[in-house]
């Protein structure tokens, strides 16, 4: 059984006080809790502060391009459906540059976990607005304030049929640990959007701002109720619910895809394929 010590990675290059540290803690606790060894799962990340995440824990890592976490993660899982696969992305990475993959990943329902470090700003590139930045927020690129509506990832995901949708908050590390575990335990594509205070560039959505608003969903809440989930997911004002907003399992891509369903992962079936003679005969 792996211990927390085994999950000590490189020294983080994040700013002191950054919400990312808490996410890292929660993640490490979650994987230790799941009993996983570092080599038993793969994290795919993009570019941004969130993208550095896998270097700071220990895991198989594909730290790829800005915006392209989901295609890489999806394919890793399709090539090896015995591997646990997660994507870690920033809000800009996932809902900006990579928005199209977000739509497609929900439709595909491949068993990949998406964790979004949602700091409502572009951190690494120094403070430009992200899709989740609130209207009116002043940034170097929007001196008169953001003109666009903000994107609500959890309500969009629920509406589009994502089967596991949760909202976490970095500073509520215990809850976050549980959400991460639950996401991994869920069978299918899942989204955990994590509020992550950026102390350097987001002076609007601060720890205080989140603290005043975030409240955990109560025990009585039924995450299987689509209508309730959708309504709750739209609560984004004075009060913002955290926890599992929606959960409903359905057949995954891997289960529906005849090449994979009930078979060994592709990575165990490498080499010359069988049946070539038959295919050759088709050219006759």
């Amino acid at each position: 059984m792996a211990t927390l010590a085994e999950y000590k990675g490189q020294r983080p290059a994040w700013c002191p006080g950054c919400g990312n540290f808490a996410i890292l803690t929660a993640f490490n606790k979650a994987v230790v809790g799941l009993g996983w060894e570092p080599w038993q799962f793969t994290i795919v990340s993009g570019i941004g502060q969130a993208g550095k995440f896998p270097h700071y824990t220990r895991c198989n890592t594909f730290n790829g391009l800005h915006g392209r976490t989901l295609p890489v993660a999806t394919a890793i899982r399709l090539a090896n459906h015995d591997m646990h696969v997660a994507a870690f992305a920033g809000d800009g990475d996932c809902y900006g540059e990579g928005g199209n993959h977000f739509l497609a990943a929900i439709r595909r329902n491949v068993n990949v976990k998406l964790f979004v470090h949602d700091n409502q700003v572009y951190g690494l590139t120094k403070g430009q607005p992200s899709p989740t930045s609130l209207p009116g927020m002043r940034t170097p690129v929007t001196p008169a304030g953001v003109t666009e509506q903000d994107f609500n990832p959890v309500s969009a995901a629920i509406a589009m049929g994502c089967g596991f949708v949760a909202r976490g908050y970095a500073a509520d590390t215990d809850q976050l640990t549980e959400l991460i575990k639950a996401a991994f335990q869920y069978r299918g594509f899942s989204l955990v959007d994590i509020f992550q205070p950026c102390v350097s560039f987001n002076k609007l959505n601060t720890y205080e701002w989140y603290k005043q608003r975030c409240y955990p969903l109560q025990d009585g809440y039924d995450p299987a109720d689509f209508d309730a989930a959708f309504a709750r997911s739209r609560e984004f004002g004075d009060r913002i619910p955290t926890g599992i907003l929606y959960r409903k399992e359905s057949e995954t891509y891997e289960e529906r895809q005849p090449v994979l369903a009930g078979r060994a992962p592709l990575v165990k079936r490498v080499g010359n394929p069988s049946g070539l003679d038959e295919t050759v005969r088709e050219f006759a």
Partner: protein, 584 residues
């Protein structure tokens, strides 16, 4: 004998079915065959044709004279009847075309009526046409029945098609003039294969287990072939949401431990360029098919051109080695796609297969496919070999520059890679020293090894040619036949490049000697600006003084190319639509 049959009509009339069916018949007869398709970017209407050339010795390219023109519409007659040879015939259904043509070359065959009379449907007129052509040619109808049997699964449909085929055959035999070109069958049945099929088949035979792509003409045939054979061969074929996804998926699958490929055309490749650079940085094996079509932008979606050579060679920010192959025939496609999978995994550099619509959609005959020619070596660290290591660093410095490529999850070490500059373990760095060592490893060291794998151009024709035709990719066939054609009168040779990057060093003294000693070296390209000529100068300093370009979206025909070459040989440089001869 050397016959050309052209089937023309609107999209949706079944030209492809007729063309495909006849090709199969000729091939099973044992003829050598080359067929190609000319079609528009639409699903119904417009004007398309399918042209089959078959002969008793190997043929490689399209010719212009037509022996039998099967006209499914009046437009076909209007556009193509002047292509008929002296002894050629155009067959058509006057009822369908609502037109009757005078002249002994026009033969009215009631395709539709034949079909209906046999209890078939209107669409079976096409089967009647196939039958009629075979009847005219005096071939056996049984082979047509065989071909129908292998394509039609429903017994009823098959039966009525067979009846229609026979009736068409009889009609052609009885009512069409004794054909001047009644051929004798060859012994051994042959196969036919299209360029896209050859690429896809070779990928499968090379152990490709993952193919992700977004549909784009003329690469879609690969996607469809892979998808159609996915279950049988255990391949995941995924239509991605866009091309950025397609290439990133291929890289993900490859990182996870399986051989992966993606394919597209120029516009989609443009969207893959960032991913290509990622392959370079993370040293993740991947094969990318870039099937060219005329650009810029959407251009001519269904036509052919060779204008993406330098784009393919220099696409991607930063410096990393890559390999670019441009097969010109199905055999070259078999070999080079197989070699691509080998090299990409052996050296962890991306390999681009530069195809084009002319290669993709044309069909050739084959004697068969020898599966032993497909090399398969697994260069990855798996299972025990990986698990037994004391430590593992994905990007370890080695003498060769090649670091061990392990399969994540198969051993107790983590496999880490990064698109940022990284250390041996794959973690992000900022320092100058590591950077320089990594560039030396990734770029210079690996490149030196990759270069050794590259073979010189194929030479054909005269040993010590006075005139050299130089070209690459899908112009193989037409250049080769041009050489055959001119060999009697001039010491002429072909130099065909199919391994383009790194530029061949092996045999360089020989091929450069040929170029420098020749009286005339003509660079032949299906583009306007002479991309290969530029590459040649960049790599060798050699400057072509003569070149032949075609950039009207159509492939060279043998006659068209010969005319241009003869212009150069006789000192007369002509200017013809789409063909700009001479120096620029």
């Amino acid at each position: 004998m050397d016959y050309t049959i052209k089937i023309g009509g609107a999209a949706g009339q079944g030209i492809q079915t007729i063309g495909f069916t006849l090709s199969k018949v000729f091939s099973r007869y044992g003829y050598d065959l080359f067929s190609y398709q000319d079609y528009e970017s639409r699903v119904r209407g417009g004007h398309n044709f399918y042209q089959i050339r078959f002969a008793d010795s190997q043929v490689w390219c399209p010719r212009e004279p037509v022996d039998i023109l099967v006209a499914l519409d009046a437009e076909t007659i209007r556009r193509h009847s002047d292509e008929l040879t002296e002894s050629g015939f155009a067959i058509y259904d006057s009822e369908d075309l609502k037109e009757t043509y005078r002249g002994k070359e026009y033969i009215d065959v009631p395709f539709r009526r034949i079909a209906l009379e046999q209890g078939g449907s209107k669409i079976m007129a096409n089967t009647a046409a196939c039958g009629a052509v075979l009847g005219m040619l005096g071939m056996k109808v049984e082979l047509l029945e065989d071909v129908l049997a292998s394509t039609l699964k429903h017994k009823e449909t098959l039966d009525s098609n067979v009846a229609v085929a026979r009736a068409g055959y009889d009609y052609g035999k009885d009512n069409c003039p004794e054909c001047a070109f009644r051929p004798a069958g060859k012994a051994a049945a042959r196969m036919t294969i299209e360029g896209n099929e050859a690429i896809a088949f070779s990928a499968i035979a090379s152990g490709c287990k993952f193919y992700s792509a977004y549909p784009m003409t003329p690469s879609t045939g690969i996607l469809v072939f892979m998808a159609g054979h996915a279950e049988r061969h255990g391949i995941v074929v995924e239509q991605a949401e866009d091309e950025t996804s397609a290439i990133n998926m291929a890289l993900g699958a490859s990182f996870a431990g399986v051989r992966a490929m993606t394919g597209t055309s120029g516009g989609g490749f443009a969207l893959m360029v960032e991913g290509l650079s990622l392959a370079g940085m993370t040293e993740t094996p991947v094969v990318i098919v870039l099937a060219q079509r005329p650009g810029p932008a959407t251009g001519f979606p269904t036509r052919t051109e060779q204008s993406d050579l330098l784009f393919g060679l220099f696409a991607g920010h930063g410096e990393f080695p890559r390999v670019v192959f441009a097969p010109g025939t199905p055999e070259q496609a078999f070999k080079l796609v197989n070699k691509a999978f080998d090299i990409t995994e052996k050296y962890q550099v991306p390999v681009i297969i530069l195809s084009d619509q002319h290669l993709a959609d044309s069909a050739w005959s084959l004697d068969g496919i020898d599966l032993d020619h497909f090399k398969y070596s697994d260069y990855r660290l798996r299972g025990e070999a990986f698990a037994g290591l004391a430590e593992y660093k994905r990007h370890a410095f080695t003498d060769s520059g090649v670091s061990p490529l392990a399969v994540p999850g198969e051993g107790p070490h983590v496999v880490v890679t990064d698109s940022d500059e990284h250390d041996e373990e794959g973690h992000i760095v900022e320092d100058a020293e590591t950077r320089v060592r990594m560039v030396d490893k990734r770029y210079f060291k690996k490149l030196a090894h990759v270069k050794i794998e590259i073979e010189p151009p194929e030479l054909y024709g005269a040993e010590d040619p006075e005139v050299v035709l130089v070209g690459w990719g899908s112009n193989y066939g037409v250049m080769r036949e041009a050489v055959d054609n001119l060999a009697a009168n001039s010491r002429i040779g072909m130099m065909h490049f199919s391994e383009l990057c790194p530029f061949p060093e092996a045999g360089r003294a020989k091929f450069m000697g040929i170029l420098e000693n020749a009286r005339m070296a003509i660079c032949i390209e299906n583009n306007a600006s002479g991309r290969f000529a530029s590459l040649m100068r960049m790599e060798t300093g050699f400057k072509f003084e003569r070149s032949i370009h075609k950039y009207d979206g159509r492939p060279f025909t043998l006659e068209g190319l010969l005319e241009e070459i003869n212009g150069h040989l006789s000192g007369v440089q002509r200017t013809k639509t789409g063909v700009v001869p001479g120096v620029r």
